[in-house]
Amino acid sequence: MNEPVHRTLGLTDDELEKIIEILGREPNHLELAMYSVMWSEHCSYKSSRVHLKRLPVEGEHVLVGPGENAGVIDVGDDIAIAIRIESHNHPSYIEPYQGAATGVGGIIRDIFTMGARPIAIMDPLRFGPIDDARSRWVAEGVVSGISGYGNSVGVPNIGGETVFDETYIGNPLVNVLCLGILPKDRLVLGQASGVGNLAVLLGSTTGRDGIGGVSVLASAGFGDEDEDTEKRPSVQVGDPFEEKRLIECCLELLDARLVVGIQDLGGAGLSCAASETASRGGVGMDFDVSAVPQREMGMEPFEIMTSESQERMLAIVSPDNLENVLAISKKWEIRSSVVGKVTEGGQLRILDGIDGPVLGEVPASSLHEDAPLYNRPMAPPDDLNARKEDKPEKYLLETNDFSGDLLNLIYSHEWITSQYDSQLFLNTVAGPGSNAAVLRLKHPVTGEDTGRGLAVTTDGNHRWCAVDPRRGSALTVAESMLNLACVGAEPRALVNCLNFGNPENPTVMWQLSEAIDGMSEACREFDLPVVGGNVSLYNESQGTNIDPTPIVGVIGVIDTLDAPPPGHKWSEGDRLIVIGPEPEGLSGSAWAFGKGYRKGILRELDYDLHKKICQVTRELVQKKLVTAVHDVSSGGVGVATAEMAIASGVGCSLARISSHEALFSESSSRVVLAVNPDELTNVEEILNAAEVPKARIGLAHGDRFTIKGLLDLELQSIQNKWENHLPIAFEGGTTQG
């Protein structure tokens, strides 16, 4: 147990050498603690940065790209939108409620740090199998945490997705995306400037919660159970009421233009906020630990500097404005304390009393800019070729229960989404369960309705990425494009959350690199800039890595929002059409994974065709020529049409779907359209002009869900399965053990 201190903090011997080189001496314990959190994988992206550089980041509408607290894009009418996605995977496995709750709190702070009012949250979630009691415990806690924090803090949760799969049994994924809105001219950046300006700490007291959260927890995998339980004190505890007042207080300070720069305290706490603001502004800072309001007695300086206590912000204020800043804080019952001042040079000095002894001194920029950069070894899996040959289609003879297979794939997420306030602010035109979420776009200051809309989607597909991380990631981006087209939106920007296993494993690094290449390729083809992202590594448990799970969030703009988008509801008598290429293969499909066939090969995306499909779908939606629309993704045409029948309460008779491939293939660029007979000629003419493949597959009518030659089910039986699946599963109880 005589491990050197730097190793217990998660630093390697080489990293210690580098610190000694920077400082020209041995670091003391406080300095070492600060480097350990700032150089953690979570904060420094040391394993991924070398690859992330390949993503395209520039675009016509980009105001702020990656590297700031959030990406910001111009959406017209002098309005800007801030967008960010984050992960809170590790804390949520150890302590699901608080892990998920503080994930929501953290991302909201990232957004209002930019001067934006947070207006929407979306949660992509991944849990172990629903029939596993511990996975249900995690899922129930996570959903309650998101609900408890998000509803109270007052930011609507407008969508997201939830997947249950065995790959997440020891390592769930809890990602969260947040959107904020701001007048374009109020954009603020997290930087300090003006020597003599003051650093004011706003919000909660600083306690011992979350110390080493980014290094001990987020940058290591899970092992044996006792050790994992010991990590619980590294999880922070959230207070949504404090955060709500903090939002209002900070937005009022920004409105009154009383702060020079502002930075939230998230991972790595004060070490991160103080060094980042100073380093971005090219200045230094004297930081007085004794001025930090503490939650408990006897806290060590290193604890104060690395604590991840929630609901705190660091504002840089000119001395002239201090009085006004303190008055506004008081109105909102927000604690505020001067904890430091901006200095010349680039040194971050930690002091005990502003004129007291120096406890530590490091170049502010060295904490992030000099963080180590690793180009870790990569290698494709040894059995890559054999995996490609092992296609699910090989096993088709063993199974022909089409009805049973379909019913296994459909369930409503309402048990989850109805626990979230999805409607606050009166913007939500299409909420959870839609092709993409749609919000009215109102001016953030005047409240005036622009008559336009925002559309947002989150997508991720571990199954595709397990089969082929490069193509799978490209297809994920493609799915987002199509989701936005289904609500009539033009895409503007993408954010990503890259959830992968242990980067010290060459196969995982290969997956990450391949995924980034696939995503880069797709983003370039679609002219979609990446404005922000997050990388979550070490998603492993007992030595098993999760399937690669890149999640993307894409935001788009709807130019005329005068009616809700068509959605999934068709009407009696509608003609049903599928547009897009013939389906090919079942590899990576929900059907195949449900049967345990987790290998095979994905078809390469035909970008030109995909763009045409998106364009024509958008045109039909904008011209209001389709009653209903559903892109074909998880579960194939079978699940898409079943969901449409369930949504409308009207059955259908389908034909020309005669195999597993036709029913369950998830090959891309396909959309199901429901068209009123009066519009049929019109729609088909537009489809012909667009030169996209199309096939009439049937008719919406009656109370049965029938596919000629394959299955014939009462609509009611599908509806029952849809509605009851999650409630019944959760009635089975949960266990923490």
């Binding site: 109270s152 909102w332 979230y420 606050l424 009166l426 035109v429 005068d562 009616a563």
Partner: protein, 222 residues
């Protein structure tokens, strides 16, 4: 002159802008009133909006009722002027004793956000005067503590005095008597768990909240 609707804001309220937007779209003037003010200004009627006043800590509405503004709302209500509590506002009004009963955790022990179908039980109140008895309204609920409860005597009184304004068609939260909204004996103080302000725009899926808020605005003109 269109009436002015004052919307009380506590730390932790979050539906105040929504209430403002909805009543303004129906032709009223509106203004926000910070909770620590005794002055309701020129308000002709008062809305206590939804949200989580004081974080709902201790109990929803339990701390908010002690705010200075609530003292003025109390006097305002006693003088016969219209007061409407929506969701958290309903909880505040029961805690303040302006409406009988209490709102406890939903029977499903989960937060619930979804549109529900309501039935108008009486048109004799500041909230329902422009509706039709027996009509159905589709309006969202959004709460964890919306399960209305009271003593048997109070329930009888509410029934006998025709003070149950709205009931749920398919009770989502276990409320006694399917109660979604009630009024006081003088019929000028009303509270309901569903959010009428969320059902006032065609893009939001329903405009059934309009007749309720129109009733309320009109009553403040009298």
């Amino acid at each position: 002159m269109s009436p002015t609707i004052g919307v009380i804001v506590f730390p932790g309220s979050n539906c105040e802008q929504d209430a403002l937007e909805a009543v303004t779209s129906l032709g009223a003037k509106s203004k926000l009133i910070w909770h620590d003010s005794f002055d309701l200004g020129s308000a002709d009627a008062v809305i206590i909006p939804g949200g989580f006043a004081h974080g709902d800590y201790l109990r929803p509405g339990a701390i908010a009722r002690f705010s200075p503004a609530m003292e003025s709302v109390f006097a305002f209500a006693r003088s016969g002027r219209p007061v409407l509590g929506i969701c958290n506002g309903f909880q505040v009004l029961t805690e303040a004793g302006l409406l009988p009963g209490a709102l406890q955790k939903n029977s499903g022990l989960k937060f619930l956000c979804k549109p529900v179908n309501l039935t108008v039980r009486t048109t004799n109140s500041v909230l329902t005067s422009q509706t039709v008895k027996g009509d159905g309204l589709r309006i969202p609920v959004n709460h964890f503590e919306g399960n209305y409860t009271c003593t048997e005597e109070t329930l009888e009184e509410l029934q006998d005095e025709d003070r149950i304004l709205l009931t749920y068609e398919d009770n989502p939260n276990g409320s006694m008597g399917d109660i979604a909204g009630i009024c006081n004996a003088e019929r000028n103080v009303v509270g309901l768990m569903p959010h009428p302000e969320r059902a006032c725009h065609p893009l939001l899926g329903s405009t059934d909240g309009q007749p309720l808020l129109k009733s309320f605005i009109e009553s403040s003109e009298l």
